[in-house]
């Protein structure tokens, strides 16, 4: 028999994973069973989903690491020039 009851820590972990679509079906079922009786985790799950939605909506962007490295290289050259 599989253990269907999970602790709050586990539930939050699964919730985080599902925000990135990395939770398995069984994990999601366990999470939903947990949410039936746990008010705190219901709140956390709700806020977490809202955060995901907001960030998706905002379309925020970041520079990835290679871009930043290139930038830094160029900038450091100029920096050296400025101080010499």
């Amino acid at each position: 028999m599989i253990k269907m009851m999970i602790s709050c820590d586990e539930a939050n972990h699964v919730c985080d994973k599902t925000q990135y679509k990395e939770g398995t079906l069984l994990e999601k079922i366990k999470l939903n069973i947990h949410l039936i009786y746990c008010r705190a985790c219901r709140k956390y799950t709700k806020n977490n989903a809202l955060l995901t939605k907001t960030i998706k909506k905002a379309d925020v962007v970041c520079l990835d690491k290679t871009c930043k490295e290139v930038m830094k290289k160029d900038f450091n050259k100029a920096l050296k020039k400025a101080f010499n």
Partner: protein, 183 residues
């Protein structure tokens, strides 16, 4: 009032994401935005002695960036030459004022939506800046850049469970911060 210090060594680490996000919501071209941000840093370096310390470094850099963005639009406008389109409802052929033509299009909500989105982007970056550096890095890589868990773990040399703990803390902090400043 304590004077703000200037330290160009940390600029890219601290402000490049914020400036980039600011630019891309106004220029909407990735490469061009990156160039503009880079130009801003270089221009800032050149005019460092003009920094009076009245505003924070970031505000100061943003004010340079704004100039750069305006210059960018000027440039592409002059490239177009004189092919400027002027809409004028008051020519001799259509006499009288047509009220219908002056009413704002109720279905054209995109301008406002864009504005709100760029403000939301600023709010998100402000919250990200309040996180500890490691949390912010992991959160950005995972949520905004969409990297795989494994890639991040290898990059930062942490275990998967370690990553999820960091993500959990970052998400809790972000949700709280946005709740205060946005919702």
């Amino acid at each position: 009032m304590p004077k703000h210090q200037i330290d160009p060594n940390k600029w890219i680490e601290l402000y490049s994401d914020y400036l980039f996000n600011y630019t891309i919501s106004r220029v909407s071209d990735r490469d061009k935005s990156q160039d503009l941000v880079q130009d801003t840093f270089l221009a800032g370096l050149k005019s460092m002695k003009n920094f009076k310390g009245q505003a924070s470094e970031r505000t100061w850099l943003i004010s340079i960036l704004k100039r750069k963005i305006i210059d960018h639009y000027r440039k592409i406008n002059s490239k177009k030459g004189k092919a400027e389109v002027r809409i004028n409802y008051k020519d001799s052929e259509s006499e009288g004022d047509w009220l219908e033509e002056r009413v704002a299009d109720p279905f054209d909500k995109t301008a406002e939506d864009n504005l709100q989105n760029s403000e939301l982007g600023d709010a998100i970056h402000n919250c990200l800046e309040k996180l500890p550096k490691k949390q912010a890095d992991v959160f950005k890589m995972k949520t905004i850049l969409g990297y795989e868990t494994e890639v991040i773990c290898n990059e930062l040399n942490i275990t998967a469970s370690n990553l999820w703990v960091i993500i959990h803390r970052a998400r809790t902090a972000m949700a709280g911060c946005l709740k205060e400043n946005w919702f």
